[in-house]
């Protein structure tokens, strides 16, 4: 089983850049690109069929059709996907939308374009660690993609309290 990061972004260049910056994690977690919300749902079905776990979605803010904000809010609201970490990536920091997303939608994080690679890396690791903890799965196989300090704590204290 692999943790999966979904990169939802309609601009091919931006999508490629995000994936390139996530490359250090790519041998440990599965990274899938998607260009719109329908495409993202297709990826989610495939991930489930492969027996992997969707752990984090990085979604662009503005896209044709359903917006990234709406999609992330749906994920948060759906019990099936409420464990998924949600990150909004936006170039046009429209404050109203951002506030709506983070406050009402309960999104986990908000990254402004252009992003800082170190910040992206740290945020993704932290959120993946949260997901591992929340789902109560063994961090061992995913350590290379997790927050090093917290994941070691998890290992030490045993994740299998449940």
């Amino acid at each position: 089983m692999k943790l999966t990061i979904l990169v939802l972004e309609d601009e091919p260049d931006v999508r490629a850049a995000l994936e390139r910056d996530l490359e250090p994690l790519a041998r440990t977690v599965r990274i899938e690109p998607a260009q719109d919300v329908d495409d993202a749902r297709e990826v989610m079905a495939q991930v489930e069929a492969d027996g992997d776990v969707l752990a984090l979605v990085l979604a662009d803010h503005r896209m044709p059709g359903t917006t990234g904000v709406d999609f992330l809010c749906e994920l948060v609201a759906d019990p099936e996907t409420e464990h998924v970490a949600t990150v909004l990536v936006t170039g046009q920091a429209d404050q109203q939308d951002t506030i709506k997303a983070v406050n009402l939608g309960g999104l986990d994080y908000y990254i402004a374009k252009p992003w800082d690679v170190a910040e992206l890396d740290a945020v993704v690791r932290r959120l993946l660690t949260d997901v591992v903890e929340r789902l109560g799965i063994s961090p061992v196989k995913h350590l290379a993609a997790l927050d090093p300090v917290r994941s070691m704590d998890l290992v030490r204290h045993g994740w299998g309290d449940r």
């Binding site: 091919p12 260049d13 999508r15 490629a16 994936e19 390139r20 490359e23 790519a26 041998r27 599965r30 990274i31 899938e32 690109p33 998607a34 260009q35 495409d39 297709e42 990826v43 503005r62 044709p64 917006t67």
Partner: protein, 623 residues
């Protein structure tokens, strides 16, 4: 008709006035007496069949203020506009200024008056009032004047002239009549005037030389029958040139002859004075009306001057724009060479690089593919990655290979057979070079389109050279939408065309450009939920001229009011960090093209609704 006269006042003066007036005029007027003006309030008004108050003879008491008395008189409904004669023994009057200002006071009679004169004045004033307020058919004559001066002033000029000649000949004996043809100067402005001419018949004009050399006619009708009188006043040179404009009969007098006549016959002086007086007053009236006309002319001149200034400023602005246009065209032309060099260089590099890369067919393929700028969509990318991953068993490597454009499993196998890292580096470099070439070509074509835009704007008259053909406007709109397909993905576009949209004369490529620019502008202004409506119909203006009307409407945020009048001016815009001509110049180009088609373009905008309206004359109108 019986007129109404009031006598207002107390004491012996008022009683004497009342007596004299009612004795004299009693049969033609009803005379009412009041002691004080407040008594008027209780007065029911004139007797049946009598006029409104025609005359008020006012005898003010010592302490009374005349202005106040008069105001209370004219406040009475039966005396809205009477003649007022003031009868007083005061040596000074300092309380009638308001009444004089309203022209309420007809006259002031001091006491004691010559018996009978107050009655005479009363008759005259009543007659005047009746002339001003005519009732029935008979308008009374004013009493005749007794004095020579007033009589002469009222005589027709010809008759007065005849009387003057008669009086002169009584003093001097018969005077010969001099007959002159048209065009004789009887006085000249550069010569001394020492004689007098009396024009018995015919016309004489007066003229002065103007400073610009021509001659300026001053008077024609107002000349009067006596020429040379003004010069006699101070014995200076004539101020004007008098010239006969018709055959004339005149009588000539030397100063000495005039002197003798004046001394021996007082009638000569009296008539001469009135004739001079009348000539001068005619000339004065003429001068005054000339002055009024001059003031009006000056005002018009000033207005014309202002309009000329504005026109000049407009011309200067136009010339400046034309100069800018020339410069822009020049720059556009100069830019063509470096742009061509850029484009050619990119092509040369693309041809030479594969040869340099030599035997590596994968790298050459990768380069060409990257140069094409084609990008896989996410779905295809995932599929390609899965296929490549199946061969290389490394998701990172698979992503990088696919990103570099290597998707063919055969090529992948060939690549990873040798040193994986070197091979990967090689294809990534090739992909990078290809992408760089792609950017270069995009940039060059961008510049080329900017240059084309500039050139079109500077010399948009290309359409003038092409024959204007009858064009189906709807077809040009459709063509523009087809061209813009890629920009219209995120907006809803509706086109409504009335069945009777007339054909217009024009160049269809130019009209396509107009719609392209308007639609591009609208799409840029709108966000995701944009709705674009294009409506075409036929309108007829107030001069019954038929037009094809095209309206491009969007629901974007609108054009700020302060910018609305500038939208058709050429400018650059900066969007997403890229300088564009397309928009700023686009509306300007649309404007120019529409004008070349003898049409109009206008904008109406508020938040949520912006409409650009273009009207083009129907083809049948232009034939």
């Amino acid at each position: 008709m019986i007129s109404t006269v009031l006598v207002i006042g107390e004491g012996p003066l008022a009683r004497a006035a009342m007596r004299e007036i009612s004795d004299d005029i009693g049969e033609e007027a009803i005379v009412h007496a009041f002691k004080r003006t407040p008594d008027l309030a209780a007065w029911p008004g004139p007797a049946a069949g009598a006029t409104h108050v025609a005359l008020v003879v006012l005898v003010p008491g010592e302490e009374e203020v005349v202005d106040d008395l008069i105001e209370s008189v004219i406040a009475h409904p039966s005396s809205p506009d009477p003649r007022i004669l003031l009868v007083t023994d005061r040596p000074h009057l300092d309380d009638i200024s308001r009444a004089l200002d309203r022209r309420d006071v007809a006259g002031v009679v001091a006491t004691p008056w010559t018996p009978g004169s107050l009655a005479r004045y009363t008759r005259a004033e009543v007659a005047r009032w009746l002339r001003l307020h005519p009732v029935g058919e008979t308008v009374p004559e004013l009493p005749p004047v007794g004095s020579d001066l007033l009589r002469h002033l009222r005589l027709p000029v010809a008759e007065a002239t005849r009387e003057l000649l008669e009086a002169l000949e009584e003093a001097l004996g018969p005077r010969p009549r001099i007959h002159l043809p048209e065009g004789v100067r009887i006085s000249r402005e550069d010569l001394d005037m020492d004689q007098l001419f009396i024009v018995v018949s015919g016309r004489v004009s007066l003229a002065v030389r103007s400073s610009t050399g021509g001659s300026l006619t001053l008077n024609h009708t107002s000349t009067g029958p006596i020429i040379g009188l003004l010069a006699l006043t101070d014995r200076r040179g004539s101020m004007v040139t008098a010239r006969t404009t018709t055959p004339c009969e005149i009588v000539q007098l030397t100063v000495e002859q005039l002197d003798k006549a004046l001394a021996s016959n007082p009638r000569v002086g009296a008539i001469l004075a009135t004739l001079a007086f009348r000539a001068l007053s005619a000339r004065l009236r003429r001068a005054q009306s000339d002055r009024v006309a001059k003031t009006e002319l000056n005002r018009k001149l000033q207005q014309t001057l202002n309009e000329l200034r504005q026109a000049r400023a407009d011309l200067v602005a136009q010339a400046r724009m034309a100069t800018l246009g020339e410069i822009a065209a020049g720059i556009a032309h100069e830019l063509n060479n470096p742009v061509a060099a850029l484009t050619r260089t990119a092509e040369h590099l693309a041809e030479d690089l594969p040869r340099l890369l030599g035997s590596d067919p994968v790298a050459a393929d990768v380069l060409q593919q990257a140069r094409s700028g084609r990008q896989l969509d996410a779905r295809d990318e995932r599929a390609a990655r899965r296929a490549v991953d199946a061969v290389v068993k490394d998701p990172v490597l698979a992503r990088r290979l696919v990103a570099a454009g290597v998707t063919d499993p055969l090529q992948v196998r060939r690549l990873v057979r040798g040193k994986k890292d070197d091979a990967l580096q090689h294809v990534e470099l090739a992909a990078g070079v290809g992408a760089a070439l792609h950017s270069l070509e995009i940039a060059a074509s961008h510049i080329a389109s900017l240059v084309e835009g500039l050139r079109r704007h500077a010399r948009p008259d290309s359409s003038e050279e092409t024959e204007h053909q009858p064009i189906d406007v709807l077809e040009t709109v459709r063509a523009a939408l087809l061209l813009l397909g890629h920009r219209l993905q995120d907006v809803r576009v509706g086109v409504d065309a009335a069945p009777d949209v007339p054909a217009v004369l024009g160049a269809s490529a130019d009209l396509v450009q107009v719609w392209t620019n308007l639609v591009t502008n609208a799409v840029d202004a709108m966000s995701d939920a944009g709705e674009l409506r294009i409506t075409l119909d036929r309108v007829t203006d107030e001069r019954r001229v038929g037009w094809a009307r095209v309206r491009v409407e969007d629901n974007g945020p609108g054009v700020p009011a302060e910018l609305q009048e500038h939208v058709f001016e050429p400018r650059f815009t900066t969007k997403h960090g890229v300088v564009r001509f397309g928009l700023g110049l686009g509306l300007g180009i649309a404007h120019t093209i529409v004008h070349n088609h003898h049409g109009t373009i206008g904008l109406e905008s508020r938040p949520g609704r912006t409409v650009f309206e273009v009207r083009l004359p129907a083809a049948e109108e232009e034939r």
